[in-house]
Every structure is written in C-alpha cells, then in structure tokens.
Symmetry: C2
C-alpha cells in the first residue's frame, strides 16, 4: 500500500497549495497574463519561489528550464492534477442552513463541482428549490449517485446523524466526503474524508487572539490601534499572526 502511484505520493502541504496556485493562475489568465515566473507567482501568494518550484517538481516539468511558466498551459495541467479537468459530480446531503448556503454558493459549480442533488430527510424541506434544484428525499440519493456517477458528497447533517448518513453515501458509491459535521467519520478503505471543522478553526483563531492580547498587555502598558503598516495573509486553512 505504500506504492508510488504516479503523482499521488505528494506531501499533504503541497496538495493544499495546489488550489491556491490554480486560483491565482486563473486570475492571471482572466486579465490576459500569458507568462509568469515562479518568483512572481510565489510572491503574489506570500510564499517562497523555491517552494513553488519544488511543489511543481512533483508533477514533472511544466516548463522548459529557461522559460517562465505559460499560464495557459499551467491552468489545465493543474486542473488535471487536482482532478477537475472534467467536472466532478457532487451532491449535498443535509439541507439545513449550512447545506442551503453551500448549495447557493455558485463558486462550487464554477470551480468544477456541479451540484447534482441536495438531499434531506426533513419532509418540510423536500421540494424546496435552491438555485433551480429541488431538495430531494434521502431515499433518492443512492439512485442519483449511481446514475450520475457522483464522486463527492458534502455532508452537512447534524453530528448525531453524520456517521449513519456517511455510511449510506459510501454504500452508494461516493469516494470523497467533505464533512462539516463535528464528528469523526469511520469510512472503509478507498474513501477520502476531509473534515471542515468550524469549531477548530475559530478556536485556533481564539488562541492567537489570546496570545496577541497577552503580548500587548505584557509588553506595552498602553498600546492603541494605530496605523496599519505590515501586511500578512494566508493560504489554505491555516492562519498567521501578523
């Protein structure tokens, strides 16, 4: 199981940067930029150029040694690597507030994850339309997953039902679960899970905030909000104190 399957033994950290690269490149593409050097691209993302080249290196040459990257070549290459060269059929399971919000988030469509169905058990929600799509009964999920070759499921049900629903999704043939429930899911081999834990995010932020406040009160007796000077931003799901 530790085999080197093509371009799949890539550091976790690199994987999380690929979408950022793609995003920025699409932006450049949209404004007509044709070439971009590793330095330019890296700086605009607040990372080191060497890291970017290192990341790309996992997937073979995107450019010849002497020439900068060609945006029009790089975008489809990254899309292929990430697996969104063709749209990835996706469903949303759980049509509560969060599920509805995600269903309304058109960026998902635009970025290669068309929503092929929204499901819930609540009879009051079933039938309600969101962006032209009705909320369907859970019973219909398996059928649609199979008939439309759905690969990814976004799970936005309450934590108490998350495992049970995840089991159904897996049984129906879903290979990737984007889990918003505050529960660790148990899934069989060959299924990928990504937990997007709101509480974790805000608590990590709180820790940083606490540290900032402590530093301020300890260091300077009276330090007030002043002129914005330095900048700091961040990629992925991590964060940075600036």
């Amino acid at each position: 199981m530790r085999k080197k399957r093509k371009g799949c033994d890539v550091p976790e950290a690199t994987i999380h940067r690929l979408p950022l690269y793609l995003e920025k490149l699409k932006l450049l593409q949209a404004i007509g930029v044709e070439d971009v050097s590793s330095r330019q691209l890296a700086e605009s993302l607040d990372i080191k150029a060497s890291q970017l080249r290192h990341d790309f290196h996992y997937f073979g040459g995107f450019s010849r040694p002497g020439r900068p990257y060609q945006v029009d070549k790089l975008v489809p290459a990254l899309e292929r690597i990430i697996g969104i060269a063709d749209p990835v059929p996706t469903i949303i399971v759980g049509a509560g507030h969060l599920g509805q919000a995600l269903a309304n988030y058109q960026n998902l469509d635009l970025q290669g994850f068309p929503i092929h169905g929204i499901f819930d058990v609540n009879p009051r929600l079933i039938g309600l339309e969101i962006r032209g799509q009705p909320i369907r009964d859970m019973d219909e999920m398996a059928g649609i997953v199979r008939s439309e070759n759905v690969l990814i499921g976004i799970l936005t049900v309450p934590g108490s039902h998350a495992q049970e629903v995840a089991d159904q999704m897996v049984k129906a043939g879903i290979v990737g679960i984007f889990n918003f429930a505050p529960t660790d899911l148990k899934v069989p081999q060959g299924v990928a899970v990504r937990n997007e834990r709101l509480a974790v995010g805000i608590m990590a932020l709180s820790f940083k905030v606490k540290c900032i406040l402590e530093a301020q009160t300890q260091a300077s007796p009276a330090d007030e909000v002043g002129a914005p000077g330095k900048t700091a931003a961040e990629g992925d799901g991590h964060d940075q104190v600036s």
Copy 2:
C-alpha cells in the same frame, strides 16, 4: 518579535489539535468519565499518545507523573489556554447565505463565541431577525465592537469587498478575523487572520479522490465496494485517505 511570550510559541499543528482535545474531553465529561490516560484520549482521536503528551507538555503539567489526566481539571485548563475561559464576543459581517447559516449555528454560542451582532450593507436584509438578533447596518458595527468589546469577526462577504470590510473591522478594534472570502487579507500587525477556504478544501479532497480512482483502475481490474473494514478519520482541516 521572536520573543517567547508565555505559552504562545507553540507549533501551528499543536494549536489545531487543542480544540479536538477539548471537544473530546467535554464529551467524556458529559458522560461522567473522571480520569483519562493519554493513550485512551489519543486513540479516540486517531493520534499517537506520545504526540498528545508532547502537545500538553508545551503548557506545563496537567497531571502528576504517575496519575492519569483528570477530565475536570483538563477541560478548564484547555479552555484557558485556547482563550475561551470567558466567552469571546464575536460578530458576523456579511449576512448572505453563509453568514446566516453561521448565525444559525448555535454551536458557536455554546463553544464560547456568542454572536453580538450580524451586519450587512444590503438594505433588504437589514432588520431581518436570525435567532433573535436583527441584521444591522454596517454603520453600527464599529460602535458595537467598541461597546461590547468584540474581539473576533467572522467575515462572510463577497471576495470583492472582503479587504475593504476587513479594514473596517480592524479599525473598529477587532483582533481576529475568521475569513470565509476567497481573498487573501492584508491586515496590520497584531491582528490574526484565519482563512477558511472552501475551494481549497474541496479541491484537496478531489485530488485524493482522483488518486483513489487511479489506484483502483490501475491495480485491480474489477474492484467493487465491499465490506467496511478499516477506519480512518481526521481532525482539523486536514484529511486522510483510508
């Protein structure tokens, strides 16, 4: 700027695990468990016991060498470390679908982040009530932030306005920004930002899915969904193929 301010020079990865520890411990506390060993706690979170002890070690002894951890001691200790011993006043800026969904997400309240205001510029939304709180005009934000000592702001406006709104939040005195917009924010020193990038998450998942499919078609000619056997779950914002 590289000073060792109390317990604040802690690895990023450790910070992201603290909320998971707390969550699990609260669960144990709720069902009446009094003591827990590092092994038990670690296994239930799918991490190594040595890592858990190492993490705790950053903050000094939670237990005496020979005794297991006492849940009732650990929970408040972690809450103090994370900075949620007392509730952290929080606001939501941007009352679109996602903002409303988060406002409805009562777990935020329960976990120490009471929502002290929901703001938007859209006159159609202003006045609408969510969980007993009206959506207010952006103009009122700064006042409330100051009067209620709001520390954290959840930013759910469109990417095109994110930077501008973030500037207002910082100027009003907010110290931590939980950013859901697909934009890198520039903030002055002394402000923490955490980006929760949906697109990054789902694309990272997609990469894993693509790898799984490739492995399946390459390795076994006909491999069908079988009996769930092994388990795999994940904390934070990371993910794991199982």
